[in-house]
Symmetry: C2
Subunit: 515 residues, 2 copies
Amino acid sequence: MNGAESMLKTLINNGVEVCFTNPGTSEMHMVSAIGASQEMRSILCLFEGNCSGAADGYARMAGKSACTLFHLGPGLSNASANLHNARKAHSAVINLVGDHATYHKKFDAPLNSDVIGLAAPVSHWVRTAKDAPSLPADVAEAVVAANVRPGQIATLIVPADCAWDESVQPVDKQPLEEAPEVASAAVTTAAEMLGNGEPTVVLMSNMALSERGLELADLISQKSGARIFCDTFIPRLPRGKGRAQIERLGYFAEQATEQLAGARQLIMVGTKAPVSFFAYPGKASEFSPEGTVLHTLAESGEDAEQALERLADAIDVGGLVPRRQLLEKPGFDSGELTPVSIGRAVAELMPVDAIVVDEGATAGGACFPISAGAEPHDWLTLTGGSIGFGLPTAIGAAVACPDRKVLCLHGDGGAMYTIQSLWTMARENLDVCIVILANRKYQILQIELARVGAQTMNKKTLDMMDLSNPDLDFVKMSEGMGVKADRATTADEFNELLRQAMNEQGPRLIEAMLP
Amino acid sequence: MNGAESMLKTLINNGVEVCFTNPGTSEMHMVSAIGASQEMRSILCLFEGNCSGAADGYARMAGKSACTLFHLGPGLSNASANLHNARKAHSAVINLVGDHATYHKKFDAPLNSDVIGLAAPVSHWVRTAKDAPSLPADVAEAVVAANVRPGQIATLIVPADCAWDESVQPVDKQPLEEAPEVASAAVTTAAEMLGNGEPTVVLMSNMALSERGLELADLISQKSGARIFCDTFIPRLPRGKGRAQIERLGYFAEQATEQLAGARQLIMVGTKAPVSFFAYPGKASEFSPEGTVLHTLAESGEDAEQALERLADAIDVGGLVPRRQLLEKPGFDSGELTPVSIGRAVAELMPVDAIVVDEGATAGGACFPISAGAEPHDWLTLTGGSIGFGLPTAIGAAVACPDRKVLCLHGDGGAMYTIQSLWTMARENLDVCIVILANRKYQILQIELARVGAQTMNKKTLDMMDLSNPDLDFVKMSEGMGVKADRATTADEFNELLRQAMNEQGPRLIEAMLP
């Protein structure tokens, strides 16, 4: 059994079932091992950023890690931006990165680079295998590292000879660490804060945002009067009919500052103190009012749901019942196609258990609030701010949950970053409906240009944020990659196309032409 | 004058004229400064790998540096693979990477990452600006660093407040270092080797591959009997009618080993000893026969052309005349469209001073040898092995040389990596003809799979290297990004389409459907 075969069997023994791959020559023994395996599904992506984004989406929805397979430093580089997003989402991802054979590295052949250096900034755990016999143990450690809760990026660099040389037996299933409980003092302090009469906000993210976590937060709010928020960018939020509601912090500083106005105490559950996405000249980075008392009930890696249970017990929510969202659909718009009309159609039509992958940016901003009363669904957002996350993440979500409809809301600018994802959706016949919110500009930048106080707003400046001249035709691009596509120019057209898409299986793209 | 303005003026003072950009909020002051400038051309790309590849192509053809503008760590990550190629090409590139404001960094907002860590593996020079007043001097140093011959990657990280705070006057034009002369002993040793009667090979790359360098090598060959080769992957090679010929080392070890067979001495000019692109089980990494005496006449950064002049003098080539390539066109094929028929059409039709950007991979392999006797042209290859170099590099070459036709030969698999480049070609109306060599597979991998001795060659294995199911339609994708496109299924169709493309201006794509 060679190193690749034993590594693969170790992954399978440890429950890894999917590999998102774009291999090269140095990965051929791994490819060969996967080809011979019945238990590892291989999904080819035409660019590594598609693989890493897919692994992120898979981890968020499957609650466990997929692996990726990349070709030396450049393959990892191409995956890096979506690994950044996955890292910020605390997703569990195992990267297998081929490298030159150990004895070949010193010749500095064209593809040679500092793979460890490239891996470190986007990984929690990095190792280079030293020989074939150590490879099974290395990858077993990578699985354990990736699954440190809520999830980590574990990158194993595999020189080609470690894959092809004779190895040892695969490693059996490893025990994975549970998220540690929070200290009793953290619960006690939070309970005291909730009882001291001061205006209090509870801010949640990551593992706090389970269905049960949301219910507990609602009970805590009912009992104490604390207001409950989640971060602006959250890995996954269960919402819609039957779920306890939560308010989401706004993106712009003035929104978030207003939401938090009056708070004297802030309790964080699975997250950190809220800060501005960017700095702006002369404006504060921190959102909470000056002098706010900050308290962490649970770090992102701690058992936030259990901490909320203990806090609810400590303040005695007994007898209270979570307030659950009713089914409240907004009705359809007619006439002009606008961000709001799209949001209304999305809220009307998304089926039970839909997964919404949201890189809608400015044009998609209306979809979230309007769909609060839609059928129960999960909402996944761009956690690291690196655009081009949506399409790949939709791949991974659809692979993890083949029985659920994935609805990917995507700005046109971001969609171009990883547009190759459409081909993989077609090849794997994934049940994904992509809505391209086509406003033909990086609209957020035109807003931010004014906000940061930059002074030149002439045609040359705006051209650097403009996607017209020529207009992109997403219908043609989509068809060119095998995904059925249509264009909507009115609300009525969009409503009808989205209705069709929700009632059929398989990948489909709708280009929504916004004014 | 704020930091961004003084930085920009410093770049302009130092002859930087083009910025390939995909900015974000943290770069808005730089965008604003460029918008107000008459002297810096801004070219928007829809993915940062397009920018970095374009900067590589620009540097190779302009012989000087462009700058890029990227958005924090993820923007740099997306640029990284083509920076790897540019680094291996010794291209001069100045990266300006925005980052969070100095005081905002500590809050670890979503887009925060280790930008220096990401930059180091792909850069020769990295610096983070510390404040606005130091920014002009920083960027002046970056220009100098990028222009260390033949060229380097210089990355300047610019926290947002360094761009918006008040700065000092811009820095004037800085003197750039010339390539150092080689030591006399290096010339003397080479001359002795050429005179000692042992079979000798001269291997050249980088700055040795000027028109004059090739002529000198030919004279040296005539005088001494040494055989002259260039590396397999070269940044730029002048060839065709009127140029002295040179043989290119083959990609596969068995080709290169055969080419070098019998050599007892190897003189390297602007390059290193030849090694295998990848390691293969049980095969040697080094190409030159065991026991070959190796001698470096010029390192890649030394003045190789002058070293060749001195060597030619030392062995007294006086009276000899360079043997120049005659115009020898191969004629057109008819009937089936094959790699050879494409090569013949390319050789027949490329106009005087064409620039060929070659990421043709296996299907493009015939184009190079067949076009030896075409009109004079430059040939640019993939120096770092990271696919997705061709389309972006064609952008840069076309920007650097607006009066020359750029012919981009591209494999279908590699083209998907940076397909967004087509939009920039359309927007800038660049005179680029793209030939997609569509064999609907990563053919090189199917060859390499067997060569590395991997054992499973079943459908599942081959699917990981297969681009069919669904077939990509490059005509639709190209039209979707505003570039006129056609499909050729026979040699006659291809000949006619290429003839049209060579006789008109502006971007155009031909999808060549190979069997």
